[in-house]
């Protein structure tokens, strides 16, 4: 029922187009978001990237966006509409837009398309993604240092590789500090439901965790940590305002630099479709300031962050799978293809991965 409603909504009224004044000599760059820009999370961060590009490149470009675009046939229409409205460059920011973008890119060979988190490319379609797991590794280390009980709670949405990658990286980080660290995982089966996220956080705290992290989109879990005088991490956006005493750091997406770079290339005529997976090194994954922790923990976190920025991969062996079988040999680094399809836990996680 809810899905149907959302589909109806995007068809009927939910699609709103901003800034459609046209100037012939300006490059028009457009974005398609899967959620509302008011989610203060994933889509919000993409829109911050758009605003940064607009500010940086000033009157050389104009930007527009469509929000709340459902994946599927609705997305086809959204991309086509933007292409017809003179957008020269179109960014689609959700995995599920992939096939729509491939289809529309074929129809408009002169328009430059960029797809976030997908893997299909074409002559005028590039893909980009961020290595969120790098930040999660650092967060795991901090959690193991700050936690008094050695138990963290982890609120998660759906068992897709990106989420599993995050859990594994967090655990590897924590184990590098405390080999006996424990992780309690709660699946809420939703990306965005502040109420449920708050309930899950309360349950995890009641069950003995004293640090919380989440791969869902709202600030609710962190607010619970603040209320209980415990600690947690922000997700997607810097959420320090919601938890001035509880937030240790936040794993934020920073798309601005990438958008500026790509649009500049388009202006210069040097744009080519690419397939990039950006990390801390490129500034796409940013850890907001380390707060509410002792100086030695802060120093450790900074050092790890630098190590990752210098090219070290958190998925470096020896790493064993959950059942104890070997995954990565000593010094072996997981290749990107394996990570992008990751569907198992590392050793030490006491949870059954829903398949």
């Amino acid at each position: 029922m809810k899905k149907l409603l959302i589909a109806l909504m995007t068809t009927a009224a939910g699609v709103s187009l901003a800034a459609n004044a046209e100037a012939a000599d300006k490059l028009k760059a457009c974005w398609v978001y899967v959620g509302p820009i008011g989610d203060f999370g994933y889509s919000y961060q993409h829109d911050q990237g758009r605003l940064e590009a607009q500010k940086e490149l000033g009157d050389k470009i104009e930007t527009a966006y469509l929000e709340n675009v459902a994946e599927g046939p609705d997305a086809d229409r959204a991309f086509e509409r933007l292409a017809r409205e003179n957008c020269k460059m179109i960014f689609g920011t959700s995995f599920g837009f992939m096939d729509s973008m491939v289809k529309v890119a074929k129809k408009f060979p002169k328009v430059m398309f960029e797809h976030a988190t997908g893997y299909k490319t074409a002559d005028n379609l590039g893909v980009y993604n961020a290595r969120f797991y790098e930040g999660r590794y650092v967060m795991g280390q901090i959690a193991a240092k700050v936690s008094k009980k050695g138990v963290a709670g982890y609120i998660v949405s759906f068992p897709i590789p990106e989420v599993v990658m995050g859990i594994d990286a967090f655990m590897l980080g924590a184990q590098s500090v405390n080999p006996n660290f424990k992780l309690k995982i709660v699946w809420v089966n939703s990306w965005f439901d502040p109420g449920k996220e708050a309930d899950a956080a309360k349950a995890l705290f009641d069950q003995g965790a004293d640090i919380i992290t989440q791969h869902t989109d709202s600030t609710a879990a962190l607010q619970v940590a603040e209320e209980r005088g415990l600690h947690g991490f922000g997700q997607s956006s810097d959420m320090i305002k919601f938890a001035p005493k509880a937030q240790l750091t936040a794993n934020t997406d920073n798309w601005g630099p990438y958008y500026v770079k790509r649009i500049k290339e388009a202006l210069d005529g040097t744009w080519k479709p690419d397939n990039v997976w950006l990390g801390i090194k490129d500034g796409a994954v940013e850890l907001s300031p380390f707060t509410n922790m002792p100086d030695d923990v802060k120093a450790m976190a900074e050092a790890t962050k630098k190590k990752i920025a210098d090219g070290w991969n958190p998925f470096t062996g020896p790493v064993a799978k959950q059942d104890g079988s070997a995954w990565l040999k000593d010094g072996e680094v997981a290749d990107d293809a394996t990570l992008l399809g990751l569907n198992f836990y590392v050793k030490g996680i006491d949870d059954k991965l829903p398949q």
Binding site: K184, V186, G195, A200
Partner: protein
């Protein structure tokens, strides 16, 4: 003991918005009007509540604004369906869609701002009592309102003359009209009451549950409230039971996921086996449990067909034009 109290408090917070919205809708449906706009009125209440609280600095003003805006928003529905006799299902659905979109637009300026929580009740001595202190005398105001509301509606519907009139309108608006009862006026009041309740439920979301504003934060709770009314066969205390069963199992399944099976090593065999079984279920099944269990329980308690039929408003959803 602390953990049990915490769990009960969490359950009450989760059940309260469902209960408040469902009680409001129950009165609306008892008057023979089906308003599917609960989700929309709820989200409007949430944004109004947060906005007013933020602008005035008082969460109490927020709570009031949530109710007023919820009621005003339902007025739109009332004018359309009662005065203009439009189709109630279509109008209700569009009210939900409008509410979700409009609230997003109104709330643009409030995104990313931490809100102020409504204060918990505190009575010296009483609130400090172990266990019962926090449960009975230390919760948020909306919790107390929700309980009082349930009792008041149960009393109104079945113990007062006006309640009897309202129910008779829901059963047969033509007969009621023939008896000289102002059908449309009663229904207007019922719809407004329902709107205020849905708005209050939304205010609870943005002022108590998670004090913040984000788009779509009601996340389908309005639909659950609607379903509760039907499964509770339009009886206030059954709505109460439904909301709390739902909340209990919802919170319970989160705890099951977080629990350490080793803690139950010394527990009785049966308890251990049950925990083991629950732990082995994939989380998707656990997430289904609250919905399943609520439906099963409410179907069981309303097994008596005659009684259910007696409780179903016979002219539910039918437009009424006087003097036709």
């Amino acid at each position: 003991m602390d953990i049990a109290v915490n769990i009960l408090l969490t359950i009450a917070t989760a059940a309260t918005p469902l209960l408040v919205a469902a009680i409001g809708e129950l009165v609306v449906e008892r008057s023979g009007v089906l308003n599917l706009g609960v989700e929309g009125m709820m989200i409007m209440g949430a944004v109004a509540g947060f906005g007013a609280s933020y602008l005035t600095g008082s969460p109490w003003a927020g709570l009031l604004a949530a109710m007023v805006v919820g009621a005003l928003f339902s007025l739109l529905f009332a004018v359309m369906t009662l005065s203009l006799a439009t189709n109630q299902v279509a109008t209700g659905l569009s009210l939900t869609l409008l509410g979700l979109g409009l609230s997003g637009m109104m709330g643009t300026g409030f995104v990313g701002l931490p809100g102020e929580r409504l204060p918990y009740l505190y009575i010296p001595f009483l609130s400090d009592l172990p266990v019962v202190g926090k449960l009975l005398f230390g919760q948020d105001p909306v919790f107390y309102i929700s309980i009082a509301l349930t009792a008041a509606v149960a009393w109104f519907l079945f113990r007062t003359r006006a309640g009897l009139t309202l129910r008779s309108i829901g059963d047969s608006h033509t007969s009621a009209h023939a008896l000289g009862i102002k059908v449309i006026r009663y229904r207007y009041l019922a719809v407004l009451f329902g709107g205020a309740c849905a708005g209050l439920a939304g205010g609870q979301l943005s002022l108590v549950y998670t004090p913040q504003w984000v788009e779509n934060m009601s996340a389908g709770r309005g639909w659950i409230a609607l379903a509760l009314v039907v499964f509770a066969s339009w009886r206030p205390w059954r709505v109460f039971a439904g909301a709390y069963i739902f909340g209990m199992i919802w919170i319970g399944q989160l705890h099951v996921q977080a629990i350490d099976l080793q803690q139950f090593a010394g527990a009785p065999w049966l308890l251990y086996k049950v925990m083991e079984l629950l732990k082995s279920l994939p989380s998707q099944y656990l997430a289904m449990l609250p919905y399943l269990a609520t439906i099963v329980v409410l179907v069981l308690i309303s097994r008596n067909k005659r009684l259910t039929m007696m409780n179903t408003p016979a002219s539910l959803g039918q437009p009424f034009v006087p003097d036709r």
